[in-house]
């Protein structure tokens, strides 16, 4: 590639090979990225989960800013004045007005290049749930058991695969310490691991998440509800080895959806909450024996429900809530407020309030912005802890 005469002379221009071993910039960049990952714990909360946000590989793409190393910096002038060079007489316009909206750069904190970093969902959940300091969910006590083999004790007979070599050698040594010139091993030295059947509490759980997708739900409200459901699923998955998830969307009728379709559902129509509750009840009866499964039910809507559905909804919800460990209701609004005032009771909130008054484990929470989603999750799960304690 390089012609002969372009090669640097060896003596004066020592080619310093060791330099290639140093990747200081890359090392510092890695450290920076590590710090950014910490910072993303903050960013992630404000992120709406849209259908495209999560990729099939269990990763999430998050836009992040490079971190800034702060110094005492000159204030940016409202009117930047500078020196330039080239063709330009006083009065010449070098660049027309660009649409920079009213926001300005007052904050000065953000800006610069945004990069999309890919994070594994597992990491994100770890961070989030760590930060939320959520209690591990309590499981139903007593009734939930499952037979399981556990290793317990040793025996002199057994199949070869369960031979405990260390134990066997110990026995042989013990024997030979009293027996002069005994054989290295005898059949009596062999020890096999024993298995016993024990009853163990089951860790099975089912979470039924229902969402109102009727016309009254605005896009923002749907996005909120979906974000909430997304993170709840991810979080619960960490607590339970075998977590069944049932996703229901309803308008005047309720349909169960698989997870990959659920986050992209849109629909039109009226609102009949009872349809979702009844479907949930049917699913429990068919597939999830309450004696074995821990059942959690969450419902998200804007609070509207048909007046003439009130009785059906109340009845079916009560039945559902009594079989479930916990029932939560998330009311969404596109108001942009962090927390909603639930004193103005909506149709649906009233239903859940009634459950609470009857002493059935349940809670209501209202949110109006993405930031509040994690507040809601925290509220539900700490609440649930109190109830079960």
């Amino acid at each position: 590639m390089t012609p002969e005469n372009h090669v640097l002379s060896a003596r004066a221009y020592s080619r310093e090979r060791w330099l290639e071993l140093f990747q200081r910039g890359a090392r510092d960049l890695l450290r920076h990225n590590e710090k950014i990952r910490d910072a993303v714990r903050e960013e992630i909360k404000r992120m709406p989960i849209e259908k495209n946000a999560s990729s099939p590989h269990g990763t999430l793409r998050v836009p992040v800013h490079f971190m800034e190393h702060y110094r005492f910096k000159l204030l940016k002038e409202a009117e930047r004045v500078g020196t330039g060079q080239g063709e330009g007489k006083p009065g010449d316009q070098l660049r027309p007005a660009t649409k920079r909206q009213g926001k300005g750069e007052g904050g000065g904190e953000k800006g610069g290049i945004t990069v999309e970093m890919e994070f594994s969902i597992d990491d994100l959940i770890d961070w989030l749930w760590e930060e939320l300091k959520l209690p591990n969910l309590k499981q139903k006590q007593g009734k939930v058991t499952k037979d399981e083999y556990t290793r317990e004790g040793w025996s002199r007979r057994g199949v070869r695969s369960r031979l405990d070599r260390r134990r066997t050698v110990k026995e042989a040594i013990k024997r030979r310490s009293v027996q002069k010139d005994g054989p290295a091993f005898t059949n009596d030295d062999l020890r096999f691991r024993e298995l016993q059947v024990r009853k163990r509490p089951s860790t099975q759980a089912v979470v039924i998440l229902a969402i109102d997708v009727s016309s009254s739900m605005s896009d923002e409200e749907r996005a909120l509800a979906k974000t909430f459901i997304y993170w709840t699923i991810q979080g619960l998955r960490r607590q339970y080895a075998h977590l069944e998830i049932v996703l229901i969307a309803h308008t005047v009728e309720a349909i169960e959806f698989p997870e990959d379709q659920f986050f992209s559902i849109t629909a039109d129509g009226g609102t009949k909450a009872s349809s979702a509750f009844i479907l949930a009840n049917t699913i429990i009866e068919d597939r999830f024996n309450p004696a074995i499964f821990n059942i959690y039910f969450f419902y998200a809507s804007d609070g509207d429900n048909f007046q003439d559905d009130r009785k059906d909804a109340a009845e079916s919800l009560e039945k559902l809530a009594r079989t479930a460990n916990f029932s939560g209701y998330l009311q969404t609004s596109d108001s942009g407020n962090k927390k909603l005032d639930l004193n103005v009771r909506s149709e649906t909130a009233t239903l859940f309030e009634r459950l609470k008054n009857q002493g059935i484990p349940s809670a209501c929470y209202g949110i109006g912005s993405q930031e509040a989603v994690f507040e809601a999750i925290r509220a539900f799960f700490t609440h649930q802890e109190e109830i079960e304690d």
């Binding site: 190393h69 910096k73 330039g84 009065g91």
Partner: protein, 455 residues
Amino acid sequence: MGHTLKEYTERLEVLAAEKGLDYYPVDFGAVPPNFMMEIEVYGLPIRMLHWSFGVRYIYHLIQRRMGHSRIFEVVYPGNPGHAYLADTNSLAENILVTAHVLGHADFSKNNALFKRSQEQVGYHIVEQAAAHAKYIDELVMRYGRVRVEQVLDAALALEQHIDMQKPLVRKKYPTEREKKGDPREENVFRERFEKLPGENPPKTENAEQKRLPTPPNPERDLLWFVANYGPETMDWEQDIFLMVREESFYFKPIFDCQIMNEGWASYWHARLMREADFLPNDIYVDAVRAHSAVVRPYAGEKEAALNLNPYHVGFALWEHIFKEYGEKDAFRVRANDDDFSFVRNYLTKDLADALKLFIYKEKEDGSIIVVDSDIGDIHEHILKKKYNFGCPRVYADRIHEDGSLELVHDHKTDGRGLDPNYAAHVLKYMHTLWRRPIVLQTIDDKKKTKTISCP
């Protein structure tokens, strides 16, 4: 054919000496381009690790990918000096770059600011910085990365806040007022003034007054001050601050003389190329082509640039000085000036017109308009960003009884604003070391007093 860069270098050095260039020997090294980029990011070949360099690194990487920057050489003053050339340079480029390096080497040996900085820091900054890096690696092993990083966050944030009027190795402040030592007491005029009728007699000195406050006068060298007067600063934290400070002493003249220094090196590479009759024609033509790419004022197809190319402006200024004032004066200017005096004294109205310099305003709506300006405006706008190492002037004013620190933004003499958000973060960095409250007095955009504090 057959001549190597080494042979050309030897002949260039002979030519340079004939023309009066005077420099310490330079060690040349060829390095891969990615290492060139790292040198540019860190400022020194081996420097302490810190995540903020990682951010600069990625910005450079992006720029390089977009083809914006290409680095031909980096040179470090010292005895011997160190020059790194990109091993992807062609022979013609390398000959040009070698001549350029000789210009830099002459400048750094003879310019007053460089001289003083090197007398203070020593002539082996490359080795010293590497030793600092090694020491910091050891500290990381001993105290953990998080702790060391916190100290570096603070130290590097204060990087520009040094006082080169004071020596690198400074004595701590005297703790007591000396009887006769206070110039105020010796001030004859003040004594006469105080004797005037109606004037309160000076209070009799008590123990309180005898003890000097810390600092006795506003202290601009924040790195030195925090290192020495932090109420609970540990030895190794002090070490880090002083190492960063030492490197800053080295960087300051480079920053203060950028236009002059790059211009000087460009002037000399052009002149040495012109007068090197031993260069074959094709190499000469290639070298001149590389030269014009470096010193062009703005990228090819554009009509105007919104910032100045220091190579171009400096080059034009030196051509002008050599022509108007002669060689002797040019060498004198190179020894005595910095960018401030250089631009103010030698960038004349005619030259500015010939270079087509103008001043523009960028309005809030994003439009950019060329405005009326005289030569003084042009000088000050070129130099504005360079004043005080490019930073707002901030000084340490007082350590209070409880150990809390009061900083003051010297907006009156600076005249430029200070970004309050950034300042709040810097105070946070500092607080991890100072471990007591810190406040900063500044003004807001309506010129009202504003106090930023941590915690």
